[in-house]
């Protein structure tokens, strides 16, 4: 056991001392924060450039009825359609909205521009025109303007989750994001650290130091020491990331809050939700929801389960990666053995992103979050939506069982593989190794 500890130490420190480790540790949270800042910046600033809409309304219905928006300016013009088009090109205007006399027919209204108009802008204009038309017809039908205004309803659904502690806000968006990020991190890190284990094994094999070492320790001790050492490197990296991100986020948050415009905006939004209701501004409210949603996520619980599933998944897969490393002489030969290992990971990730997020409680989601090879990813997507305790415990127990099993299998292959040189290995060969007695 003492020797395993020595091996863990070497594996750990030889990696943590590397410059690339330090670089990764600081670079990733910085990038993360930078991304976060850019998102917020865009939320607040929006698209600065004001688009000019020249409205050529032959019907006269919409004149002066369309409201200017933050980035859309309506200008009403007269004249012929062809002149207006020529003019648009000559004066490098943005958009020309053409409404013919008999606009009610199909495909009559046109937006002409040199560049393709954004989907949002077209949708926006369309909405406004529908509104104007609706109002016009209601008025024609003899309904009072005040009644129309009263009748306008806006529905905003507030998702609430009932727990034993009472109700809490359940933001589906935030849950989705947290699940996605956690599952993605596990997916990526299983590959990164699993490959590191495999490379380490191959390195020892190709430099032939393996023979010196297994004359001092049992192959199993070496494999376990390597796996645990690199696992601890992964944990260290994650903990540093969490701490650094939290620190940077707090600092960045303070700076953002102090900048006047955004502060005012957010304060205004928070204090005056009614106004928010009447004048919905998609972008600012999205940001508000985002920051509000972040408050509803139980981070200690998520981080706790994340670390467990990272460790469990890592132990399962790194043992397999170690077995692959022991079976080959160099990295190029690993391809044929990698596929069956990476397949369940990729499969779960794709299913997870498309199916589990939408059906976190379906039976497929349940089974995927129980099978040890898929549970680290599948369960992390489900966890933010809330998972019954018994399911979580069962899944964790199965994961531990799974890792004991794969480690046992991998160790039997590893102990033979590390001493085999120069032969191209096949699955049949590996099966034979597995059957060798001590």
């Amino acid at each position: 056991m003492n020797k395993t500890l020595l091996i863990i130490q070497r594996e750990y420190f030889s990696r943590v001392k590397k410059k690339s480790f330090l670089l990764m540790t600081f670079l990733v949270p910085t990038l993360f924060i930078a991304m976060y800042a850019v998102v917020i910046f865009i939320f607040i600033k929006g698209d600065d450039k004001v688009k000019e809409f020249r409205v050529l309304d032959e019907s006269g219905v919409f004149v002066n009825k369309l409201q200017d928006k933050k980035n859309v300016d309506f200008k009403y013009i007269n004249g012929s359609y062809s002149d207006a088009k020529k003019d648009l090109i000559a004066s490098e205007g943005d958009f020309l909205l053409y409404i013919p006399k008999n606009y009610e027919g199909k495909n009559q209204i046109e937006i002409v521009s040199e560049k393709k108009p954004g989907l949002n802008i077209v949708g926006d204009v369309q909405d406004q025109m529908e509104n104007v038309l609706q109002n016009k017809r209601l008025l024609e039908a003899g309904i009072d303007t005040s009644i129309i205004n009263q009748a306008k309803a806006k529905v905003i659904i507030q998702a609430k989750q009932i727990t034993e502690d009472g109700e809490k806000d359940a933001s589906v968006g935030a849950t989705f994001v947290v699940g996605f990020v956690a599952a993605f991190l596990i997916y990526i890190s299983l590959f990164i650290y699993g490959t590191q284990v495999m490379r380490g094994v191959i390195e020892e094999k190709t430099t032939r130091i393996i023979e010196v070492i297994v004359s001092s320790v049992k192959p199993f001790q070496l494999m376990l020491g390597k796996i645990l050492g690199i696992g601890m490197v992964g944990l260290t990296q994650f903990l540093l990331w969490i701490i650094l991100s939290a620190g940077l986020a707090t600092i960045a948050g303070t700076i953002m809050m102090n900048s006047d415009s955004s502060k005012a905006k957010i304060e205004q939004m928070k204090n005056n939700p009614d106004q928010n209701l009447q004048q919905p501004d998609a972008r600012t409210s999205a940001f508000l929801n985002f920051s509000k949603a972040a408050d509803t996520v139980d981070f200690p619980y998520i981080i706790g389960t994340f670390l467990f599933y990272f460790l469990g998944g890592y132990l399962i897969y790194s043992a397999l990666f170690a077995a692959v490393g022991s079976a080959v002489d160099n990295e190029t030969e690993t391809q044929q053995f990698m596929l069956p290992i990476t397949l369940p990971l990729i499969f779960t990730f794709i299913i997870g992103m498309n199916f589990i997020v939408n059906n976190p409680d379906s039976s497929l989601s349940f089974w995927l979050s129980m099978i040890p090879f898929t549970s680290p990813i599948a369960m992390m997507i489900r966890v933010p939506f809330g998972v019954p305790v018994w399911q979580l415990l069962l899944s964790m127990a199965l994961l531990i069982g799974g890792f004991i099993f794969t480690t046992w299998v991998a160790a039997r292959i590893y102990r033979v593989g590390i001493l085999m040189y120069g032969k191209k290995t096949s699955y049949k060969e590996i099966a034979k190794w597995f059957m060798y007695k001590e």
Binding site: L6, R10, T207, V212, I213, S215, V217, Y421
Partner: protein, 302 residues
Amino acid sequence: MLSIKNIVKQYANHLALDDVSIEIEQGSIFGLLGPNGAGKTSLIRIINQITAPDSGEIRINGEKLNPSHISQIGYLPEERGLYKKMEIGDQMLYLAQLKGMSKSEATKKIKYWFEKMEMQSWWKKKVEDLSKGMQQKVQFVATIVHDPKLIILDEPFSGFDPVNAEIITREILELNQKGATIIFSTHRMESVEQLCDNIALIHKSRKILDGKVKNIKNSYRNNTFKIDYFSDNGVIESYPGLFEVLNEKTLEEGKQVTVKIADDKNTNDVLQYLLPKVRITQVNEVIPSINDIFIQNVTALN
């Protein structure tokens, strides 16, 4: 010291060791000889407890081989290897600690050896910065740093230049004088003759010969001599009943014949017969080298 009894090791489709038994005395330098693929490495791996035999047993000083013996064995594998990116000093410490030494003890020992081998300045260097010969030296120190009672060297001289080979030979002899038992495994027979007291020949998974080098050589002497002479008065020709000329050749000065003397005669009889006929300058007994003996044995088996 080391008693190897009836070891059998079977791999999937070939028998690596077939009922091999060898006794190695305390304090001896033992040569484990055989062509590539004979089973030497398999046997060494079993002694190092890297693999286990299918049957048979190994005892060290009467005690059945067990993990506690690891710290008493130093092993230099044929394929040398060290961590390329790790500092030499750290690497030495790591390997010594894996052999069961404490950190302080290991540090002291490593410093002692580095000084002895004039490697003090290498402590902070990485293996990849060293030349091949320097790496070999590092590896040798790693093998013996924990004062093993049994040192197993697999092809120790491959990769050494003559100067370093000389240094290593001296160190091995010194360790031997201090009481360490040494096993040499090699397919280069010449190096063995100067160093080893005892040898065992392994061929095709079987031990085909073992014993003291002197005794083995003696048993392969067959009354053959080389005689150099000047042929002023004539040449040496076979004389049935006394000797038979096996080979003739002309030297720069004079001639040389290789003769096999009849079993009941000796050199004196031959000389008495030859002296009146030719002027003899030199007579040497042809003693077969281990290499000759080896080839003789192997071809006989084939």
